[in-house]
């Protein structure tokens, strides 16, 4: 656990402190997002944890030990650090870059080599990259190396300062997903600075919204933040589409799904049409045993339900976010999204009114 | 200490302050030769550099000229010009100094013009400036700091090499140094060194001052 106690940073010549008396707790094994407008002291706060910036006053406890009273170099070697512009050493190969902290700690060569191999796999980096120099890599690859380098000595704590700020949106999304997946396995304590509220909501177990001068406006899990912004500043910072953002945090699996009217492949066509009439539907979902095949209109069905059917436009699973499901529903001809599980088995369906209900809750 | 005494003795002799080999005459010769050579250099190198720079094809040429130019010692150029012209005195000295001034002037003009932000040039064209206007109103003023740096480099080279011109029987302040060496006359030698250093440093400050004045103009960025 990282505890900040009344941490203040005043830069010489500045009118007001960059961070004024900030107190917060960062629980072990969670991702805490520091988010706020420029000048809110989020980067300063981060840099005080590994003492790249010296706090003017206050204490920063890392598992109960005050880092401000320790050798900064030792502190830093035990904390992973990833920054937006990566800061790879241009004169060292990728492998040497990743091995930086293990080398500093004096690991022996074979252990370092093994660790580099392991990390390469972990961050999904092509092993061929290892002998190259940083300028030969793309932005996304470099950031992967940055993460691998920070994880090299397996530090319990990771500080990340807008690590995905300089890559394009597609790569950013992928790196965010990878970080979440990585965290599922590693359970690091991660402090992550961003100015992007969507990134904060997407990645954080908790989000700390900071105002200018390091004022902590709200600190809670993202659902809570979206459901109940503490004040006008937070509300303003969250921006529009708050309802949609909340939907993006939840998955289809969390909802009670409606039952789907189905027709088995090869069953009686007349019976299927009768069920459609009874339900007032002009289409029916076709399944083969419990596997989803597609959908058919009455006119498509003869004596028997055929094994060829129209495909649903969107693929919705129990892991799909409600936000995406909503998109599928409103763009689908049928006005619903049919949901399958990981093995493509039909589990139910979701309709627009159900999602609307979630929005108002 | 002996040196200082001899310097004082030489300087306090009034006969050294008049006539064709007096200190004022030789100082004026030195300054005049430097000015003349630099003037010629500017007239030749700057327009050429502007034209090549405007066409943005000159960077490679500039790099090569700098490398070649730097490898040939100024003293060597003087000697080569001397054997090529079969003359002593003013002519080989003047030609040598002009050649020396050409390299930094030309190269810095080309680079100065070429390094003007292409977006600015593009915007100027987009607003309807003719090529001539682009060159004179945008590229030249923006490239001026670098061109003036080239002028300063040229000045330092030319003043220094003008002292060597005494070796091909021209006047100037270098005469005192060379004759001082030859006649083992420390007073004369130090007089030459002192005045030449003075001319160089004062001149350099003047160019620097002009440079600063030019770069703090309304378009300073």
């Amino acid at each position: 656990m990282i505890v900040l106690e009344e941490v203040t940073k005043e830069f010489p010549g500045a009118e007001r402190p960059a961070v004024g008396g900030l107190s917060m707790e960062i629980p072990t094994g969670e991702i805490v997002m520091l988010v706020g407008p420029s000048g809110c002291g989020k980067t300063t706060t981060l840099r005080m944890i590994n003492r790249l910036t010296e706090p003017t006053s206050g204490a920063i406890l890392l598992d109960g030990v005050d880092v401000t009273k320790q050798d900064p170099v030792e502190v830093r070697r035990g904390i992973g650090y990833v920054i937006q512009r990566v800061g790879l050493f241009p004169h060292r190969t990728i492998a040497q870059n990743i091995a930086t902290v293990p080398d500093l700690l004096g690991w022996d060569d074979s252990k370092v080599t093994d660790r580099v191999q392991e990390l390469t796999g972990l961050v999904e980096l092509d092993p061929e990259m290892l002998d190259r120099y940083p300028h030969e890599l793309s932005g996304g690859q470099r950031q992967r190396v940055g993460v691998a380098r920070a994880l090299a000595a397996d530090p319990p704590v990771l500080l990340m300062d807008e690590p995905f700020g300089a890559v394009d949106p597609i790569v950013r999304g992928r790196l965010q997903d990878e970080l979440r997946a990585l965290q599922e396995r590693l359970h690091k304590t991660i402090v992550f600075v961003t100015h992007d509220i969507d990134e904060a909501i997407r990645l954080g177990d908790r989000v700390a919204v900071l105002n200018v001068g390091g004022v902590l406006e709200q600190y809670c899990p993202p659902e809570e933040l979206l459901a109940a912004p503490a004040n006008a500043f937070v509300e303003d910072f969250l921006g529009g589409e708050r309802g949609l953002k909340r939907l993006s945090l939840r998955t289809v699996g969390e909802l009670e799904l409606e039952t789907v009217t189905t027709a088995q492949v090869g069953s009686s066509g007349a019976a299927a049409k009768e069920r459609m009439r009874a339900q007032g539907l002009d289409w029916i979902t076709v399944v083969d045993d419990d596997r989803l095949v597609g959908w058919l209109e009455a006119g498509d069905i003869g004596d028997r339900v055929p094994d060829e059917a129209r495909r649903f436009a969107a693929h919705t699973t129990v892991d799909t976010s409600l936000r995406q499901a909503l998109d599928s529903v409103i763009s689908s001809r049928t006005g619903v999204a049919v949901v399958v599980d990981g093995e493509e088995r039909l589990v139910g369906m979701i309709a627009a009114d159900q999602l609307a209900e979630q929005l108002t809750r | 200490m002996d040196g200082l005494l001899e310097l004082w003795t030489y300087l306090s002799d009034v006969t050294h302050w008049s006539g064709p080999s007096g200190i004022p005459t030789r100082t004026i010769q030195h300054v005049w030769m430097t000015t003349l050579a630099l003037g010629t250099g500017v007239v030749v190198a700057v327009p050429l550099g502007m034209w090549i720079g405007h066409r943005r094809r000159g960077s490679l040429l500039a790099v090569n000229i700098v490398n070649i130019g730097r490898a040939i010692p100024a003293f060597g150029i003087l000697a080569l010009v001397f054997i090529a012209t079969e003359r002593i005195g003013f002519l080989p000295s003047y030609i040598t100094l002009v050649i020396l001034s050409l390299v930094p002037l030309f190269v810095n003009t080309v680079t100065g013009i070429e390094e003007v932000d292409p977006d600015v040039v593009d915007a100027a064209r987009g607003m309807g400036l003719s090529e001539r206007q682009v060159l004179w109103r945008v590229e030249l003023p923006l490239g001026m700091p670098l061109i003036l740096t080239g002028f300063r480099l040229a000045f330092v080279d030319v003043v220094a090499t003008a002292t060597l011109a005494a070796l091909v029987a021209w006047g100037g302040l270098g005469r005192f140094i060379i004759d001082g060496f030859a006649q083992l006359d420390q007073g004369q030698m130090l007089t030459g060194a002192l005045f030449v250093a003075l001319v160089a440093v004062v001149g350099d400050r003047l160019v620097l001052w002009a440079e600063a004045a030019a770069s703090t103009g309304p378009r300073g960025n």
Binding site: F89, V101 | A71, L190
Partner: protein, 225 residues
């Protein structure tokens, strides 16, 4: 004034004289090499120390560079003349002057190189627990190498040129031939050409040699630019 003292063009170089005087040529070339190498080596050590001083104490940066800029402005012949009363017509006089001229470019490039290391690289280094000293020697210095090497190349090539002028104070390496060419009538063009051509060659060889050396030590920079 006009002097008609020249041989016909086909006698521009008296090869027979060259053949007879290979010893002198080798000796003078060697003198040129060591005057140059000592000047650049001493100049680099001084410049490096000054650069570290400037880096740790930015206030001294301006006065140091201004002083070396003024020193650079003073014509070399004047510097040598000013030193002769103190250190005589000696190698020391030549070296002091030559070292002075290397300082401006060496200090400028070394400081620029060390300061030009991207902030994020230093930040990342510090963040991973590099001490200041290690950051200097393991990160800043290697990354500054291309710029420092560029400075050494410029300083070396101009030193090769300046060495010729030390002929006037009885040193000079290959400059001795050039001066001899100006002062004598017989074999005049041979003297000048031997001096000039060999010193240009020397400059080129030094330049390429240092460039090679630099590339060997900065393999990571090979594919940039």
């Amino acid at each position: 004034m006009r002097t008609r003292v020249f041989a016909a063009p086909d006698d521009l170089v008296n090869w027979e004289w060259v053949g007879r005087n290979l010893d002198t040529i080798a000796e003078r070339t060697w003198q040129h090499v060591y005057l140059t190498v000592i000047a650049v080596a001493v100049g680099f050590v001084v410049a490096f120390a000054l650069s570290l001083w400037i880096l740790s104490n930015p206030r001294v940066g301006k006065p140091v560079t201004q002083l070396s800029a003024i020193a650079y402005t003073i014509p070399s012949l004047a510097i040598f003349a000013l030193l002769v009363p103190v250190t005589g017509l000696s190698t020391l006089t030549a070296e002091i002057g030559l070292v002075m001229y290397t300082l401006l470019v060496l200090v400028r490039n070394t400081v620029a190189g060390l300061e030009g290391v991207p902030d994020e690289v230093l930040d990342a280094g510090a963040g991973m627990g590099y001490e200041d000293r290690r950051l200097l020697w393991r990160v800043r210095l290697p990354l500054a190498m291309p710029v420092i090497i560029a400075g050494i190349r410029i300083a070396t090539v101009s030193t090769v040129g300046l060495v010729t002028i030390t002929a006037v104070i009885g040193q000079g390496g290959l400059g001795w031939f050039i001066l001899r060419g100006l002062n004598t009538v017989a074999n005049r063009s041979t003297f000048v050409l031997v001096g000039v051509v060999l010193s240009v060659l020397l400059a080129v060889v030094f330049d390429l040699g240092i460039q090679r050396f630099g590339r060997y030590f900065t393999p990571w920079a090979r594919k940039v630019a």
